[in-house]
């Protein structure tokens, strides 16, 4: 009962945020110093003023901003995002195609960074100060400071150019139609971008899990467990994992916002045809309908991540599960 109301409350809060985000996105894009009609018609159109006026009327460019916003948001909610200027196809179609490619990339690196980061963090935290710990920690500190696109460039020059292990980019070999691509070809193209995208996540999760592990291993419950004769294995299973899983999973869900940002950069480096790549193209080529829609999709991603994190916390943490309010 408490859990349900907890979830509903979170959902409501997040839907409100999403609505506000849509207003801000729309306001920002509308504020751009561009002629929306020309932008909509495309840069090299030879349309007559009458035709342009028709476009303006059709999309409400002659109406005040709040009205335009309502038009946009209602049609978006009905699944109509307009026509993309660059692709000359419905925005939703472009999104669906791009999102599936991006989802694959992001999900792979999300899991990769979560698992690798968690494991290496525990390895470091159990033996702080050891050689392995010092090494992994140093690498992670550097990787956390390195921009994703630079790591992408390095990975390309080492693994693709110098060693020739992986292709130079794209989601599949150039020139093949989607149904000609094999799964192994897909994975081969996916590997390097996914690895690059997961690097900063791995570094952050490792460092955070390491700190937390050290803290937990020195905490009162663990010291007491040692005194009660629990074995190292028992301590890890009974105490450590429970305590570090919570913050790690929370961080992992909260990092979806950064993951999306990283995917924009990684996709740019590897010419990977996903949402991030589309974001950059839409913004650089003034494709307003596409840019608006992608911004909303990205907010949905963050929204989903936050919701999942909150619910996860509610399910796992007994203090929330039992509806306990702490007071001092």
């Amino acid at each position: 009962m408490r859990l349900t109301s907890f979830c509903l409350e979170n959902l409501l809060r997040l839907v409100l945020l999403l609505a506000a985000a849509s207003v801000i996105t729309f306001a920002l894009v509308s504020a751009a110093p561009i002629d929306p009609v020309q932008a909509y018609a495309g840069p090299e159109n030879k349309l007559s003023p009458e035709q342009l006026a028709l476009i303006a009327e059709r999309w409400g460019f002659d109406k005040p901003a709040p009205e335009r916003y309502l038009m946009w948001i209602t049609s978006l909610l009905q699944g109509d995002g307009g026509i993309s200027v660059i692709f000359q196809r419905p925005v939703t179609e472009v999104l669906a195609e791009r999102a599936s490619a991006s989802l694959l990339l992001m999900a792979t690196s999300w899991i990769l960074s979560g698992v690798l980061g968690f494991v290496s963090g525990i390895v470091c935290g159990l033996k702080p100060g050891s050689l392995a710990d010092k090494l992994i920690k140093a690498v992670c500190v550097v990787l956390a400071a390195a921009p994703t696109f630079w790591i992408g460039l390095l990975a390309l020059s080492i693994f693709s150019v110098a060693l020739g292990w992986f292709p130079m980019g794209h989601a599949a070999p150039v020139g093949l139609t989607p149904d000609e691509v094999t799964i192994s070809q897909r994975l081969h193209h996916l590997f390097l971008p996914a690895l690059v995208l997961s690097v900063s996540g791995i570094a952050n999760i490792t460092l955070q899990t390491r700190e937390k592990t050290i803290e937990i291993m020195q905490s009162d419950p663990v010291v007491f467990a040692i005194a009660r004769g629990e074995s190292k294995f028992q301590i890890i299973r009974r105490h450590l994992l429970r305590h570090i899983a919570l913050p790690a999973v929370t961080l992992q869900f909260a990092s979806i916002s950064e993951l999306f940002g990283g995917s924009v950069l990684a996709e740019q480096v590897f010419s990977y045809p996903g949402l991030g790549n589309a974001t950059v193209n839409a913004a650089l080529n003034v494709d307003v309908p596409l840019l608006l829609a992608i911004a909303m999709v990205s907010a949905l991603f963050v929204f989903g991540g936050n919701l999942a994190a909150n619910i996860f916390y509610g399910v796992i943490d007994p203090r929330i599960k039992r509806g306990y309010d702490s007071h001092d």
């Binding site: 999403l18 894009v29 751009a32 561009i34 390195a146 921009p147 999306f260 940002g261 924009v264 950069l265």
Partner: protein
């Protein structure tokens, strides 16, 4: 074993020299130095050209310095503007509480509800791109997490027993703010602002890498790396390697400076 105070001092001076050096040399540099010299195209790193040259014969070493100067200016703007916003909102939120607190927290959540890079792109788009777009976008979007930190800190001090005691001793709120709260918050704010710097630089380079703001052959770290991408296939690795390395070194130093200051300003770890 050098103690932390000395280490931080050394780090701080090296960093200051580097920052000021990049800034001063980068701004006052003879454009000839990073200009195009077609005789020197695509040279590998050597003593003549530390970082090699690109396809237009730009000396990458000088181009990098010029680019770092630009990054640093943007970083400074972001620190000042986002830092001030964070301090103002965080303090306001904690002191006023109630509806003000809710509004501020909601604004923080809202600003974080769109991926940071997408938000940067949107703002830059709204401002019509260009250097101005990049600068304003980066400067205006780095406040949310620091706002939370400052709010939490002010709240912690505000509800502490020693502040309750101070109230009992008849001290006014202004006295308490000045004697108890500010000395606690200031170090936190300084650390937060120092740590904003590297984030801002990284975001600036990401934006310019994606092609927002500056023409591709202009000397900005992101633009340099984006330019270098075209030459990866032909094996000119140095075009990307060195400029990126310099960026990372600067970012790492800023991160560790922030961490060290944090520990020094805490009387309990200051003696380590």
């Amino acid at each position: 074993m050098i103690n932390m105070r000395t280490k931080t001092l050394i780090l701080l001076s090296v960093l200051l020299v580097l920052l000021l050096g990049f800034l001063f040399i980068g701004i006052s540099m003879d454009p000839e130095l990073y200009g195009s010299h077609m005789v020197n195209r695509l040279k590998a790193p050597s003593f003549e050209h530390f970082f090699g040259t690109d396809y237009l014969g730009h000396d990458m070493f000088f181009r990098t310095i010029r680019g770092m100067a630009f990054s640093i200016i943007i970083g400074l703007c972001a620190c000042t503007i986002s830092g001030l916003i964070a301090i103002a909102l965080g303090t306001l939120s904690a002191v006023c509480g109630g509806i003000v607190d809710r509004v501020v927290l909601w604004a923080v959540d809202l600003a974080m509800s769109i991926p940071h890079l997408v938000l940067l792109i949107l703002i830059s788009f709204a401002l019509g791109g260009g250097v101005k777009g990049v600068m304003i976008a980066v400067a205006l979007t780095h406040w949310p997490s620091l706002t939370r930190v400052i709010r939490a800190e002010v709240l912690r001090i505000k509800t502490s027993q020693f502040v309750k005691q101070s109230k009992q001793f008849g001290k006014s709120n202004a006295w308490i703010a000045f004697h108890h709260v500010v000395p606690h918050i200031l170090p936190q704010a300084i650390v937060g602002i120092v740590l904003l710097f590297p984030h801002a630089i990284l975001h600036e380079s990401a934006l310019t890498f994606l092609g927002f703001g500056l023409p591709l052959d202009s000397p900005a770290i992101g633009a340099i790396l984006s330019d270098a991408m075209k030459f990866i296939t032909t094996g000119q690795w140095w075009l990307a390697f060195f400029p990126g390395l310099i960026l990372i070194i600067l970012v790492l130093m800023l991160f560790s400076l922030g961490d060290n200051i944090k520990r020094l300003l805490n009387p309990q770890t200051a003696q380590e």
